[in-house]
Amino acid sequence: MAEPLNILTKEMRENANLADINEYIKHGGYQALEKALKSMTSEALIDEIKNSGIKGRGGAGFSTGMKWSLCGDRMPRYLCTNGDESEPGSFKDRLLLEGNPHRVIEGMIITCFAMGINLGYIYIRGEFFQIIEQMESAFNQAREKGFLGKDILGTGFDLDLYAHPGAGAYICGEETGLIESLEGNRPYPRLKPPFFPAAIGLWGQPTIVNNVETMAQVTIIVGMGAEAYKQIGSEEDTTGPRLFGLCGHVKNPGAYEFDSTITLKELIYDVAGGIRDDNKIKGVIPGGISAPILTPEEINTPMGFGALGKLGSMGGTGGIIVMDEKTSMIDTLLNASSFARHESCGQCTPCREGVPWMNDIIRRIKHGDGREEDIDLLLDICKQIHGHTVCVFGQAPGVWPVRTMLIKYWPEFRACIEQKKQVVLPVEESYLKPHQYEHIPPVPGNFRMVTEEADAAG
């Protein structure tokens, strides 16, 4: 088994009161900032981030260095740190913000310095109101110490950061929805293409939108250097430490720090202590509810973005939801679909109309009114939504869970429809082996294309 890492969570393990900036500095905080501002140019910093090979931790696993280099020459630029963590099953950003806010702030300051940004925001989910207060007081402490404000550390670099409470919807975490929300509008995502936030973002200016964990990673990369950072994890797949949040039917749920070479099986059995009551495992969602589900046969996979992508799933937010043999897949699917129904923003037609329709059908199947043609109908609706929406939401929590659960756990859904009631099949009978997928007519599109498209969408 891979060794637990002690990088992102180091100071937290030492039980320091890290909301106090003095404690953070005592534990080595703000040294990366000093290194960056005093000894590095912004080009060197961007190169450092590119060299580190870090993939954004927001879910799609898009290269952070690439994102930064897409900003044109236009000024001013803005930074939006995305702390609107609301993906079901994810709780890593919350841990970082609660446990070590200055690590995130330090990363934000370094990012702003590298990108020539003088104004940044951190958009924090509205329900995390204590975190917002704590963040504001952390900003004030940083201002008093001279890490924020005018002429930071005597380098002539000015920066101010603000915390903004989220507007209470999942869609506010979509990067352009977040920008609209910051501007004071309904968080309707913008059309992409033609313009991505790096070109036209907040107030029409180039904007960097990065996840909270990515910001914390920036501090680490600059602190230890890209070469050392690259040694963590796998250079071919995903570098650096990751926070995995394990929840569901495991004995010891919680957030754990590992590199991405650890397998899902190790995480579940060795780290989280196995399944409750030593039951059999039935399915695992590896990266928040949007990530396509994995069957017991597929869990012996490394947790890198690339490895999960090859399986037709995705790294997502690292929120791992484990389900044991007593779980009803139709319940799971109904839960996921109800979430999508509730959180669809309603801007574009396919997601607004299609997602609730699927939810209705799934609920009907659960209550014993399923029809022969319903699975085909659901798959067809998935096809009609997929790729036709304004943002990835219609696909991520809208289509992917439905399509993958329907295909992989087809025997259990068939049983629900045939027996006209909710059925939980024994694990071995409940899912299909990968080579059997093709027996389900009709499989819409290329099932394994899913995550590649997510990568392209940033």
């Binding site: 919807a169 869609i171 309904r186 309707y188 059309l191 293409p193 033609p194 129904r341 509730h342 959180e343 669809s344 923003c345 309603g346 801007q347 574009c348 037609t349 396919p350 607004r352 109309e353 299609g354 997602v355 609730p356 329709w357 209705d360 059908i361 009907r364 109908l377 096809k383 009609q384 939504i385 790729g387 036709h388 929406t389 304004v390």
Partner: protein, 536 residues
């Protein structure tokens, strides 16, 4: 110009326009709901998604409404991906739509119906319960049938970008989304009824056109709004010589796609006007009805008598900004050729409210349609000279055109006009003018005549007759020609088109104008057709 490829065929279209507009000129229709040429594109309905070559050999779906044409673009309009998406979007839009076409006023001009016919399924796969949000009153003119709404947001964009008043918004999320107004802030801006025109379905309807006959039963007659000097282009929808609805007609130079509510609903006031339906003469201080020959004879005898007694300067004429260019021209001919007087005036209505919308649409303070044209033709823009002449006793007889709906003469005007020995008026209703008149001749309202008016920009635009004048009322041009005939002066008979021919010869600014050149979208009075000038 740019060369683009559509389904392997090359076309040349204007560069920089969006795909929907560009191919519309080629006669290719891309179905869409949320896009409206008068509004910023939003791309939310997803109906116009079209396959485009994004990288060499790789195709992806793009929204046609936001895709600006560049040289070398390659589209697939008939590929399975494009067609399947249209079919899918149609299905999604209809699953919660009530399909109450049988009693929906939009039927016949509904994008949802048309696109469903072209791209939809014949049978629904939806067996769940439909959403049924309640109907709402959004404002004094607009009602929302919430069930029919497809949330294309044309109306909210209109209120944000065109009027700048932002009354409409969306409440709730996802499938629960509804168009709504804030409590106590109804949709009552001066252009609110336009949202019913741009609504692609029957969700937003004017209360004025609720449960009316089917739209295909109407005859559509193009005209110009008589409400102010802007001169919005309109289309009247007419059945049995009665207007059921007035809609703005697109003219980018004048009103774009819009018109104000006051102008839109003014046809009611005109149609309900208590009209003067027979000629009147004053006997013992009281106006009594009489016949046309009698009234005309009295007028001609009276005017001739004054001319004989006091010479040519003892009679004046006053034109009207409610009348067409042709009628004012006939009045001028009458003054010059028959009465041989140079005392010509033009009554100016006091100015009203003025308003400019965020998008540039303007309601002019001058509440008459043809002040510019009447002053061009009569060569004067007020009647102060006439009033002075009456007060000094020089002018004893006056021939005056009215035609205003609610004319309110000032006290000084009234007392001056009451000094006249003979006041002959042409008017449409019992006004201050008729109260003072010795002879009142019943004329026509703007919807009852053919002719042209000139708006504040100097654009000459055509009116078309919706209905003949009621009762014994006659067209004002015919009355003037009849009077001229009695003076042995040949003013006609001429049609308005022929009179425009005379105007183009005699009036400098109108040189070269004729009805075919004016056409549906008007022509500038400088004599140069702006369309020709622009190379179109």
């Amino acid at each position: 110009m740019a060369t683009i490829t559509i389904d392997d065929i090359e076309y040349t279209v204007a560069e920089g326009r969006n795909l929907i507009d560009a191919v519309a000129e080629l006669g290719i229709d891309i179905p869409h709901f949320c896009y409206h040429p008068g509004l910023p594109a939003d791309g939310n309905c997803r109906m116009c998604l079209t396959e485009m070559e994004i990288r060499p050999g790789q195709f992806g779906m793009v929204t046609s409404c936001t895709m600006r044409i560049k040289d070398g673009m390659n589209f697939r309009f008939n590929s399975p991906a494009t067609l399947d998406n249209r079919k899918g979007i149609m299905e999604f839009l209809l699953i919660n739509h009530p399909l109450d076409c049988s009693w929906c006023d939009q039927a016949g001009e509904c994008s949802l119906q048309d696109n469903s016919f072209d791209h939809g399924r014949s049978k629904s796969r939806f067996i769940e319960t439909k959403r049924v949000p309640p109907q709402k009153e959004l404002g004094p003119h607009i009602q929302l049938f919430t069930t029919r709404c497809i949330l294309c947001q044309r109306c909210t964009r209109f209120c944000d970008e065109i009027t700048g008043t932002s009354e409409l918004g969306i409440i709730e999320m996802g499938a629960r989304s509804e168009i709504a107004v804030f409590d106590g802030q109804p949709l009552n801006n001066k252009m609110s009824a336009n949202v019913a025109d741009i609504c692609p379905v029957g969700a937003l309807v004017t209360k004025d056109f609720l449960y009316k006959p089917r739209i295909w039963h109407y005859e559509k007659i193009n005209s110009v709004c008589p409400g102010c000097a802007t001169g919005c282009n309109t289309t009247h929808e007419v059945m049995h010589q009665k207007i059921y609805r007035t809609k703005p007609r697109h003219n980018e130079e004048v009103n774009s796609y819009w018109m104000c509510d006051e102008g839109r609903f003014s046809y009611h006031d005109w149609q309900d006007l208590d009209r003067l339906k027979s000629p009147m003469k004053r006997e013992n201080g009281v106006l009594v009805a009489t016949t046309w020959p009698d009234a005309i004879q009295l007028a001609v005898d009276g005017l001739s008598g004054l001319l004989d007694d006091g010479g040519n300067s003892s009679v004046g004429v006053v034109g009207s900004a409610m009348m067409t260019n042709e009628e004012n021209y006939l009045l001028k001919q009458l003054a010059e050729l028959a009465l041989k007087t140079s005392a010509i005036g033009l009554y100016r209505k006091p100015e009203g409210e003025e308003w400019t919308a965020k998008g540039g649409f303007r309601i002019e303070p001058d509440k008459t349609p043809n002040l510019r044209g009447a002053s061009d033709i009569l060569g004067t823009s007020d009647m102060q000279g006439i009033l002075d002449g009456i007060n000094s006793g020089d002018i004893k007889g006056l021939y005056m055109l009215g035609g205003h709906m609610n004319l309110a003469l000032s006290e000084s005007e009234k007392s001056t006009l009451s000094k006249l020995d003979l006041l002959v008026v042409q008017d449409v209703c019992d006004s201050d003018l008729v109260t003072l008149a010795h002879i009142a001749l019943p004329g026509a309202i703007p919807f009852e005549k053919d002719g042209t008016t000139t708006n504040i920009q100097g654009r000459v635009q055509r009116l078309n007759q919706v209905a003949p004048p009621p009762g014994a009322a006659r067209l004002d041009g015919d009355i003037l020609q009849y009077i001229g005939q009695k003076f042995n002066t040949v003013l006609g008979p001429k049609t308005p088109a022929e009179i425009m021919g005379d105007i183009s010869e005699k009036v400098d600014d109108y040189k070269g104008l004729n009805y075919s050149m004016i056409g549906e979208s008007g022509a500038l009075a400088s004599g140069v057709n702006p369309l020709e000038e622009a190379g179109g």
